[in-house]
């Protein structure tokens, strides 16, 4: 059940609360502790003292049940794809995916090899692509900022659309 069922989609209460919740969501993005390949090292560095993910409220959880974001940090091959898909499915709504690095975005240097999936967006829907091989920790943080921006703008768009309909 969602709030709009109770209050109606266009009620001020619903619109305002969604805005508030989206603010909360984008400031509390917990990511799934899931490093696949080289990018995982830079992901660790992003959580390390020099770059410090925690500043953004970004924090790691070991289980998908408590995560909001899945960072696909590395090459996804056919054997891995099932796992990635399952872990994505096991995350509760709302959830987002960041494809970190060239491999996760497009298959990267390994895409000629038939066992490699051509970008993780073939398996799960991706919200932010972070090119680089591997991206700097700052680049990943920039990716997170893009994701925050995306959450904000989609929320605003949705609210605007609802206001229009009202």
């Amino acid at each position: 059940m969602a709030l709009d069922r109770l209050t109606g989609e266009n009620s001020v209460l619903f619109v305002r609360s969604e805005q508030l919740f989206d603010t909360a969501r984008r400031n509390s993005l917990w990511y799934l502790l899931f490093g696949i390949a080289c990018c995982a090292i830079e992901m660790m560095h992003a959580g390390g003292p020099r770059f410090d993910f925690d500043r953004f409220g970004i924090f790691h959880r070991g289980t998908p049940r408590q995560s909001d974001v899945m960072i696909v940090a590395g090459t996804v091959n056919k054997k891995m794809a099932h796992t990635v898909k399952r872990l994505y499915e096991q995350m509760p709504n709302p959830k987002w995916v960041i494809a970190m690095g060239a491999c996760a975005s497009t298959g990267g240097p390994f895409r000629m090899y038939p066992n490699v999936v051509l970008g993780v967006d073939q398996v799960v829907p991706v919200d932010v692509y972070v090119p680089g091989c591997p991206p700097r920790p700052e680049a990943l943080q920039y990716g997170f900022m893009q994701l925050q921006e995306k959450i904000r703008s989609t929320s605003e768009e949705r609210l605007a659309a609802r206001r229009d309909r009202a």
Partner: protein, 153 residues
């Protein structure tokens, strides 16, 4: 004595607390990248704004992943016109081989690492479009290029 090791460890973390954070607060503060840092490829221009690229295709051949795509037409007077010079940044591994292979210094590894995007179209960027290629200035380098091109063909 039992417990001394634990206390020593506690002292180490206390000392690190006193050292203070080493965090660089990224969007507000930035690290200066070393000169050699390699991020997304950028085309270099002459002072007059014309590209230095001669469409010699060396970089396209040098790229291990085949992510550079240069299409050009050769006119009757042997000058070249670059239709598009496309670069798939989403698949680039930033190895710098294209820049090394360029005999004209027409490419460089930029220092822009903020490449994240929500749009798949942004994973491919167009470095040059619809411009005249520079003419190879010196015989030697052009010869090198021709030889290399022939070599790989």
């Amino acid at each position: 004595m039992y417990g001394l090791g634990i206390l020593k460890g506690m002292r180490v973390s206390w000392r690190n607390l006193m050292r203070g954070p080493i965090t660089v607060q990224y969007p507000d503060e930035r690290l200066t990248l070393p000169e050699r840092a390699r991020w997304a490829v950028i085309p270099l221009m002459n002072d007059d704004g014309a590209p230095r690229c001669t469409a010699c295709m060396n970089c396209v051949r040098a790229c291990p992943d085949g992510i550079l795509d240069l299409s050009f037409v050769t006119r009757e007077d042997k000058t070249k016109h670059i239709d598009t010079f496309r670069y798939e940044v989403g698949a680039c591994m930033m190895c710098g081989l294209c820049v090394e292979s360029c005999p004209f210094d027409a490419l460089a590894m930029g220092h822009d690492y903020e490449l994240a995007t929500t749009d798949t179209a942004c994973l491919t960027s167009t470095l040059l479009a619809d411009v005249d290629a520079a003419s190879p200035k010196r015989e030697r380098t052009a010869g090198d290029a021709a030889e290399k091109g022939g070599d790989d063909a």
